[in-house]
């Protein structure tokens, strides 16, 4: 059981992700834009961030960079969950310190929940 921040601008997908993770016993905090995401990464007690990349205002890469530059949260596991999959995007996310990268359409929500379980210590 962990406190997870989902940053996802598609509110329908966000709702499905939230329901599934709550079912696994997690507490979920959501952000629907890059701007909201930037604020909520500082929320106390987060144990993982599920991060989309294509977002309005600030994109996922900027948020990831911010997390890794902020002393208090720089070790937070960040699971990038996006429908981008080009080498350049994956490499960029890796170089900015993403913990893992999953392409949304290739996984079920249960597989996502299992991955999250493996990333939370």
């Amino acid at each position: 059981m962990a406190k997870i921040l989902i940053i996802e601008d598609d509110t329908f997908l966000q709702g499905l992700e939230t329901a599934k993770l709550q079912k696994y016993g997690h507490t979920v905090v959501t952000a629907s834009s890059g701007e909201e995401g930037m604020e909520k990464i500082n929320e106390l007690g987060l144990e993982l961030v599920l991060l989309d990349l294509v977002l309005p205002k600030f994109d996922g890469f900027e948020i990831l960079k911010k997390i890794r530059e902020t002393e208090a949260i720089k070790a937070l596991p960040v699971l990038v969950f996006s429908n981008l999959s080009e080498d350049a995007d994956v490499k960029k996310a890796e170089s900015l310190g993403a913990t893992d990268f999953m392409v949304k359409s290739n996984f079920t929500l249960d597989e996502l929940a299992e991955k999250i379980k493996s990333l939370i210590k």
Partner: protein, 248 residues
Amino acid sequence: MNTTEEFDALKKENENLKNSIAVKSDLISISAHQLRTSLSALKWIFRMFLDKEVGSITSEQDGLLQKAYQSNERMITLVNDMLTLSHVEDSALKFKMEEVDILNLTEETLFEFSGETHKKNIEIIFIKPSEAIPLVTCDKEMVRVVLQNLIENAIKYSVSGDKVFCSLHNKENSLEISIRDTGIGIPKEEQESIFNKFFRAANAKAKEEIGSGLGLYTVKNIVEHHKGKIWFESSSEGTTFFVVLPIK
């Protein structure tokens, strides 16, 4: 036109072509992203119904939802394969050639499939060469795509209890990779079409295995860009794919 004018005209034409290729790949990657968003939503919703998370369903409804889920999975595979192909075609002129340890790359790729083989109860046997294998000058990520596709196919057309054999052989100035399965084989009359874009053999379609018909086309494309060769031998007892890559 004099030579300078001709040169300028060709240069301009070349620029135009480069721009239109860039527009095409942007279009593919933007549409793929949008398509995947809808496909993810459908996948997750069908899954919820199938897992009875939103209430019980009749066996007829279950059957229909299974069909819908599989059909959606086919679309996801198509998008994935289209993106890979577009990436291969874009990169063909700028392959990142480096010296690659194919033995290591094969082991890495086989490891990626360990979950899948475990689930299907298929054993992969990697017959490692007794002699040292030379480094091969190639684009590592592209050769990984070749191995992934061939191994994935071998697993896909095998059934529980089957074995898939993978081996490497030193040839004169080249390295031969072979991947053998004991699966359904490729029907004789369809063998010549197997590398065609969007082609899928009748027995593969009948088995309802998901595939876009782009995998082997992409693989052949990559092998040929490396000045290598690809062929296969197939009977009703299985198929072996051979890839030969020049060392330098």
